[in-house]
């Protein structure tokens, strides 16, 4: 049985229609010297993470960190391909920042966080597998997990099918037992389809379920949310605390 997760804090940005501009992103989680040349997905990650940590009143050095993204640093990958194509070269700085764990590496450096960090991907099941990894970490000893789901625009040269809206959703998660102050609770993460559940605003976006979760949380709606699709769909129950 997958343990229930308590949402202690939440932050989000983006997920709007393609043309809408992103707000100015808050990079205060990073030291100034680390803010140069950051990719869109890294900036989205930092903005949402800062908001979630503030919301949960949690120290950035005291969380296990999970970054979940279908394509991660995809624009940096394209930039490296372009450098090879156009100039037969490769920039060392760009190469260093091309790895899927660039976001968690930068956060750990800036926050002096020595705890384990990981970076995962699972296509259209990314939200479901991220919640599963978070639950497994919490069930095996992690006290607090910062889960950041983020996706940047996919460069046109790499795909015509994946022009994802840039967005990030960050959650500070704990186990339900022993926590008093909660925003909401997620329970019964399971395989299966969900009909008539909470709405999914971005049905074709790999992180669409995360936007659905944000809407459910901000509108205080409880119900079942579909958090993955494809051949093996997953869903999770969202519960809000009773009003005082």
């Amino acid at each position: 049985m997958i343990p229930s997760l308590t949402i202690l804090g939440m932050g989000s940005v983006g997920g709007l229609p393609h043309e809408a501009a992103l707000p100015k992103l808050d990079l205060s989680l990073l030291e100034r010297t680390l803010r140069r040349g950051l990719s869109e997905v890294t900036r989205l990650f930092m903005h949402a993470a800062q908001a979630a940590l503030t919301d949960a009143r949690t120290d950035a050095a005291a969380v296990h960190v999970i970054f979940a993204s279908a394509y991660g640093e995809i624009a940096t990958a394209e930039a490296l391909l372009a450098e090879a194509y156009d100039a037969d070269g490769s920039s060392p700085a760009r190469f260093r920042h091309s790895v899927h764990n660039t976001t968690t590496g930068l956060l750990s450096i800036s926050a002096q966080n020595h705890l384990p960090c990981t970076a995962i991907a699972a296509g259209s099941n990314t939200v479901a597998m991220a919640l599963l990894e978070a639950a497994a970490q919490l069930a095996t000893g992690a006290e607090r997990v910062l889960l950041v789901l983020a996706e940047e625009r996919v460069p046109a040269a790499l795909s015509e099918d994946d022009p994802h809206e840039p967005l990030a959703v960050a959650l500070v998660l704990g186990l339900t037992s022993g926590v008093r102050c909660t925003r909401a609770r997620l329970s019964n993460l399971r395989q299966g389809t969900c009909t008539g559940g909470l709405p999914l605003p971005l049905p074709f976006h790999p992180l669409g379920p995360a936007v659905g979760l944000v809407e459910a949380l901000t509108q205080h709606r409880s119900g079942t949310l579909s958090v993955g699709d494809g051949e093996n769909p997953w869903c999770v129950d969202v519960h809000h605390p009773e009003p005082p």
Binding site: A82, P92, I120, N125
Partner: protein, 390 residues
Amino acid sequence: MRGVERHVITAMGVSCALGDGGDAVFDRLLAGEPATATPPFSLPFATVVGCLPGPLDALPTALHAYDTRLSRIAFRALSQVTAAVARARARFGRERIGIVIGTSTGGLDATEPAYRHYRASGQHLPGFSLRRAHAFDALGVALRETLGLSGPCYAVSTACTSSAKAIASARRLLRANLCDAVLVVGVDALCETTLRGFHALGVLSTQAARPFSSTRNGIHIGEAAALMLLERDGDGPANVAAVGESSDAHTMSAPQPEGRGAAEAIRRALAEAGLHPEQVDYVNAHGTGTLQNDLAESRALHLVLPADVPVSSTKGMTGHTLGACGTLEALFAALAVARGVLPPSVGAQPLDPQLALTVVLAPQQRPVHVALSNALAFGGSNTCVVVTAP
């Protein structure tokens, strides 16, 4: 307080520059002849690579969209574990078996020609799908389809610790009772982007890497698939008793010079396994062949372990297999335990005296009850896998 939870490696699959099959590859490690070749594509600089020998078979027609060099390598090693996976599926049910892939490149090898096609023609390469070829997790879909599994399936991508962290995730899925068996797939394929990137960092060698040597020459890149089926019980050559993880919090690409982050991963690994430093019989080091790695990793080992623990790096033989090395070298540690012989650190002579390590210079017969396998990565990601005798 939880007790120590050990997981049995009930099956393994290995394909790398040294060949196919765990035992056959381990025999090649003992023989000590590095397998280097020229890269299978042209580059504007000289280097050698650890390239899989022979042609790589295409994936079945139904999986054509997933057919990349990466998936071909993984499928080549897959045949070594399919019987064990089928047995586990019959015992536990298809939904109780997870797949965790550890890869740094994903299907980048297929994205490179697709990108060149687009730039040259302005058209997307017919048949190329970013989702099914490039994406880190795409291989998982193809594996699930082939193996008839429906449990959790995702990819961990943390550069050179990817597949050691995949083992850590697999253990958590078992410990939290979210799965009854997990197939860990460490895999990376040679591609131009990574070779160009390491060349730009100035660390690429023109010969086989020679970790721990005073005349070291940098790294050479390899490719591999290393598969490990983990279960709570059963028969196998060795157990995985822990994976220690830490973050350096230092820089994106250089290790913390005193080795403090790597030392912390080793300490956490031993604590999770319920072992003392004196119980460690062998360390398969990350040992990439750069001065920075040799210095930081040797200091990390000295911070935690007795100075006489035998250490070797197998990267001079296989090449640095990047995202695959965490699982590949954990399996080498498991084979050292199962066979009671330590693989040599080929190319380590003349030894760098400032490291003061007890480097294994020739195959060494001895009982091995506890072996460690280190992996260190960009982003300051450190891991230490503990492998123990059954």
